[in-house]
């Protein structure tokens, strides 16, 4: 299970949201409810008419109008069929509408997540919410909610009908109420966690299989077969335990509920019969009553079997709504930059309180220069890069562009100033063109082409065609090509300052150098801060900053640093030889 990083909405929020949804489309909702109500009402005619027939037969009324009654039954059935059709259609339409809105709102919320959260949180939690929670909410909206509504409407009408034929006939059914109530409460209190556990165990099992399959070669290389086998067996054991537990809950609940269904039928027949012999009720009332009670089983059963789905759905809803609870990290102050110079002053930053990873960094980035940052992993280069790109604010100190604090610029404004490209390479599902256009949606094909040329990608891109579908399910694009696309996007977006964090790390070393040179030509006049792991990037830059242990230990041109004979010079020496 991935760690949960994003917040979850509380019960009150979920309830308020659900209420808002219910009343959002009052017309459609009342139409659907009215149709279901009418359908249920017509469904009540059958048993009543049959009860009348039985009475007539018993009374030996040979002139009973059998044909008319049968025709009436048929008529009500036809009406019920037609009403049911439209009722189901109306409620499904409403359900689909609400569902579409729910998922769209969720995606909007995801797309509005603060930059710092997105950069910090792994995507695991968000992926789970997007896939599993949206799915489970769909099930709830599409099936559970309408089924429960129908069951409620039908049930209420049936009880009403029982009341109409004779309030006395209601009494026997009440015998089952305590049994149903107690056993269902008992079950529902336990079933939620039980099914969550079952689902998690099952997901673990299939995920384990997926890992074994996808890593089959690694399994062979490292002799992991036994271990993977054990993992599968463990997962099965856990899944089995979870299944057994929820089954044991059902083993108690199912028979109790079934008895709860049977008791009213028997009681109505027997007690009703006794009432009849006492002359308190008529034969018609007993027969129709028994049939109603038997038919009441269906809505009751629907209601009970969907209720725990409702619980699961509201848990999912809480996670989906929770995404909106992330506080905004930018506080636009209205300050506007005067010039393009980026400046860091006594910058300190900590991911965990008390553990600074940057210790008072001062850096003046000259507009239009190429600044390379080198240094060992974990020294704080990437963190500094993110601060310089305005994604996080420093703990103390300030990062400014033209005198305005980066963190106080609204997002749209910030993007016009500084952009960050990391080694993370994601190819979006869509055409090749779409993938580049993200940088500037209104650009034409010519601009796209120039951007791709600037990153040495035009050759293969032309071969594929700009209309080629790439990304998940499309033509596969190598990680190196994906990095080229990321850079092409940036070229198209054209901010005055670019922070490249290992942005060419996956490209073949020889090509990478060529790419960086052609990119430099296109970006002439732009400020480029390149976090690099290859030293030629430093060699080609105007200035090099060596970052070690959260400090800039050396700063100067390549020649100056080599001259100085410090750590950079030593590294360069070993690289050069």
């Amino acid at each position: 299970m991935s760690r949960q990083i994003l917040p979850v909405a509380d019960k009150a929020q979920v309830r308020a949201y659900a209420r808002r949804l219910m009343v959002k489309y009052p017309k459609q909702l009342s139409l659907a409810l009215a149709l279901h109500g009418l359908a249920a009402l017509t469904g009540l005619a059958g048993p009543a008419l049959l009860g009348g027939l039985v009475q007539a037969v018993a009374d030996g009324e040979h002139d009973a109008n059998v044909d008319t009654i049968a025709l009436a039954i048929a008529g009500f059935v036809i009406a019920q069929g037609i009403l049911t059709r439209f009722a189901v259609y109306a409620s499904s339409r409403l359900g689909e509408k609400v569902l579409a809105e729910l998922r769209q709102e969720f995606v909007d919320r995801v797309l509005a997540l603060p930059l710092s959260t997105v950069e910090r949180a792994g995507s695991g939690d968000l992926i789970t919410r997007t896939s599993r929670d949206v799915d489970s909410l769909s099930r709830t909206v599409r099936h559970a909610v309408p089924e429960i509504l129908i069951a409620l409407v039908t049930g209420v009408f049936m009880i009403g009908a029982l009341f109409v034929i004779g309030p006395l006939m209601l009494l026997p059914s009440l015998l089952a109420a305590p049994l149903l109530w107690i056993s269902t409460r008992w079950y529902l209190n336990r079933s939620g966690p039980a099914y969550l556990r079952e689902g998690a165990a099952y997901a673990n099992l299939t995920e384990g299989l997926a890992q074994t399959v996808e890593g089959a070669r690694t399994v062979e290389a490292l002799g992991l077969a036994d271990r993977r086998r054990d993992r599968t067996d463990d997962d099965i054991r856990e899944s089995y335990a979870a299944e057994r537990y929820s089954l044991s809950l059902r083993t108690v609940w199912f028979p109790s509920v079934e008895m709860g269904y049977v008791i009213p039928v028997v009681a109505t027949l027997f007690i009703g019969g006794l009432f009849y012999t006492q002359g308190w009720v008529t034969l018609f009332q007993v027969t129709a009553g028994t049939l109603y009670v038997q038919q009441l089983v269906d809505p009751l059963d629907r209601l009970l079997s969907w209720i725990d789905e409702l619980q699961v759905g509201s848990a999912s809803m809480a996670r989906l709504l929770g995404v909106a609870n992330v506080p905004d990290d930018r506080a636009p102050s209205g300050a506007s930059p005067d010039g393009d110079a980026i400046r860091a002053e006594d910058v300190r930053y900590a991911y965990r309180e008390g553990h600074d990873v940057l210790h008072g960094i001062d850096l003046d980035v000259r507009p239009g220069e190429r600044l390379a940052m080198v240094g060992p992993s974990g020294a704080g280069k990437s963190t500094l890069g993110r601060l310089l790109a305005g994604i996080h604010g420093p703990r103390t100190g300030a990062v400014t562009v033209g005198g305005a604090s980066l963190i106080e610029l609204p997002l749209g404004e910030l993007r016009g100033q500084v952009a960050l490209v990391t080694q993370e390479h994601h190819v979006f599902k869509g055409t090749l063109r779409d993938n580049v256009l993200i940088g500037r949606p209104e650009a034409d094909d010519d601009a796209v082409r120039r951007a791709l040329e600037a990153v040495d990608a035009w050759e293969w891109a032309e071969k594929l065609g700009l209309d080629a579908e790439v990304g998940s399910g499309g033509v596969s694009v190598s990680p190196a090509q994906a990095q080229q696309l990321a850079l092409a996007r940036l070229v198209l977006a054209d901010p005055h300052t670019l922070v490249l964090d290992e942005a060419t790390s996956l490209i073949d070393p020889r090509q990478a150098r060529h790419l960086e040179r052609s990119l430099a030509a296109v970006l002439d006049g732009r400020t480029v801060i390149a976090i690099a792991h290859r030293l030629y990037t430093a060699h080609d830059a105007d200035r090099v900053a060596v970052v070690e242990d959260g400090r800039i230990s050396e700063l100067g041109s390549h020649e100056e640093l080599v001259e100085a004979g410090g750590p950079y010079a030593a590294l360069w020496e070993s690289w050069r030889r």
Binding site: S92, S123, L274
Partner: protein, 529 residues
């Protein structure tokens, strides 16, 4: 399984008998026979209790059948995957095998379950038919013929329903992929913009999915309506005919109620039988796919020879790994290098000898134990980090983590090496994964270690440190590093430069820099020009 079928039959039969008993009860009522009424009420209660009991027993059997078939399938598939090993990605798409876990096991489980329920339903249909026909031939025939006819009348709706459901499911799948795509690329989007484009696109697809959902609902609602209407009409006919017979004295009033009950009851088992046809078909398709996967054999088979110590030599390229030394391989193209690594590790056939004995004569298991090829495609599994790094369970994890310069990754984890990590791709960056893979290979400490581009995604400082520490960590054992990094090449005892699949030059890094222009061009990336 047989037990399950028995319970299913009992369960259905008790349900089938209930209308009859209610009928007897009504007759007793009409006769104002309290004793008789009490008896039939007791029988009804007994039947209800029996139904509840057999129902839950049947359900338990069904669940056990379902999960045992699902578990067996997962177990077999997972075992087969480990048996096939490196052959699997060559012969099957991994998605196909993964889908066994995601959908096939459910289809197989459903098929097993429906066999139980279907058998019971078939018996129930027969029982009810016999009862009805013996009670009243014409009425019985009406129901026996009418109910299947009704089922048939609904069937034309099923095809368009399935088609639309299919289309809807596809769209839903696409929509889910789109959402996943947005999440996976969220950093990019939030970094340089384009959210609105993606929001609009998602909205459009979501609305299309909604329209497809409504199309499904329109057929579904027709079906729901028909499922009320058709049985209802049949019930009306039964009631009409039954009432006439009853008035004529051929049928008791109770029997009339029973017939009404039978007609209502029969709908359920017939639905189960239709469902059975569908689920069995899907189950067969799923089983065929599983059987196909299970019938594959590993491509590489070996002899029975025991491993001998000595140099590992690839005749084709001329690359040799000497015992106790660090050898480097720089190739003009990455493809050549990985082909050689595959041959040396016996992932493909080739003329390779170990201590003079052809590798093909040795047992594959022994070769894997002796030679480890670690490349960047290698998977990092979820689990406690220490265990995942120490795959052979006897290595020095801390030392290996240090040698791979991965200390900072471990330090950043809440419980260090004892942290449970999810799938690596979600937790670590490319460079971090690479160092963890290296740490794992070093912990395994094989006699011969072949590392393919182990430092391609780490920075120069770290690369220099790794190169230095690697030699120490591998002291006394044979190591081949496939790389074009001068920092690493400089630390190797001996370097092979391969062009067009053959060794073009060999020597130390510095010798080659002066002796071979092609080599220099490859490793310095045109630095001098």
């Amino acid at each position: 399984m047989w037990l399950g079928i028995t319970y299913a039959i009992l369960w259905w039969t008790t349900q089938a008998l209930i209308p009859a008993v209610i009928g007897f009860g009504v007759d007793a009522l009409i006769g104002r026979d309290t004793g008789e009424l009490a008896r039939w009420s007791a029988v009804l209660f007994g039947l209800g209790a029996a139904q509840a009991l057999t129902g839950v027993l049947r359900h338990r059997c069904a669940v056990y059948t379902w999960i045992s078939s699902a578990y067996t399938t997962v177990q077999l598939t997972s075992r087969q995957a480990t048996r096939l090993g490196a052959t699997l990605p060559k012969r099957l798409s991994t998605g196909e095998v993964v889908s066994v876990g995601n959908s096939d096991i459910a289809h197989i489980g459903n098929a097993m379950d429906i066999i139980l329920r279907g058998a019971g339903a078939a018996v129930a249909v027969v029982v009810v038919s016999v009862i009805m026909v013996s009670a009243s031939l014409p009425l019985g025939l009406l129901v026996v013929i009418g109910v299947p006819l009704m089922a048939l009348a609904i069937s034309p709706l099923l095809r368009p329903l399935h088609r639309r459901q299919h289309a809807h499911r596809d769209l839903q799948g696409d929509l889910a992929t789109r959402a996943g795509d947005i999440v996976a690329g969220l950093r990019v989007l939030r970094g340089i913009g384009g959210e609105q484009v993606f929001a609009d696109r998602y909205r459009a697809e979501s609305q299309r999915t909604r329209a497809a959902g409504v199309r499904v609902a329109s057929v579904e609602s027709l079906l729901e309506g028909a499922q009320v209407l058709l049985p209802g009409l049949l019930i009306a006919c039964v009631t009409w005919l039954g009432a006439r017979f009853a008035l004529a004295g051929d049928l008791s009033a109770g029997e009339l109620v029973s017939f009404y009950g039978y007609a209502v009851f029969l709908i359920a088992p017939l639905r189960t039988l239709t469902e059975a046809a569908d689920k069995l078909t899907k189950g067969v398709v799923a089983s065929k796919r599983v059987v196909r996967i299970l019938s594959l054999e590993p491509e590489i088979t070996g002899g029975a020879g025991a491993v001998r110590h000595g140099d590992l030599r690839d005749e084709e390229s001329g690359v040799v790994l000497r015992e106790g030394s660090v050898t480097a391989l720089a190739a003009a193209t990455p493809e050549e290098a990985s082909a050689i690594a595959d041959r040396l590790g016996r992932y493909s056939d080739g003329r390779v000898t170990l201590g003079g004995v052809p590798l093909a004569d040795l047992s594959v298991a022994a070769v894997r134990e002796h030679i480890l090829v670690a490349d960047n495609a290698a998977a990092l599994f979820a689990g406690v980090l220490r265990e995942e790094l120490d795959v052979r369970g006897r290595g020095d994890v801390e030392a290996a983590v240090h040698a791979a310069c991965a200390d900072d990754i471990v330090d950043a984890l809440p419980d260090g090496l004892d942290t449970h990590v999810a799938e690596a791709g979600r937790e670590f960056s490319g460079g971090q994964q690479q160092r963890l893979r290296l740490a794992r290979a070093l912990t395994a400490d094989p006699e011969i270690l072949i590392l393919v581009e182990p430092t391609s995604a780490v920075d120069a400082h770290t690369e220099a440190r790794i190169a230095e520490r690697l030699a120490k960590a591998r002291a006394g054992r044979a190591t081949l590093v496939v790389t074009t990094s001068p920092l690493v090449l400089d630390r190797a005892d001996h370097v092979f430069y391969v062009e067009d699949g053959r060794t073009a030059a060999e020597g130390t890094h510095r010798e080659l820099l002066t002796a071979s222009t092609a080599y220099r061009a490859t490793v310095t990336r045109g630095e001098d020009r």
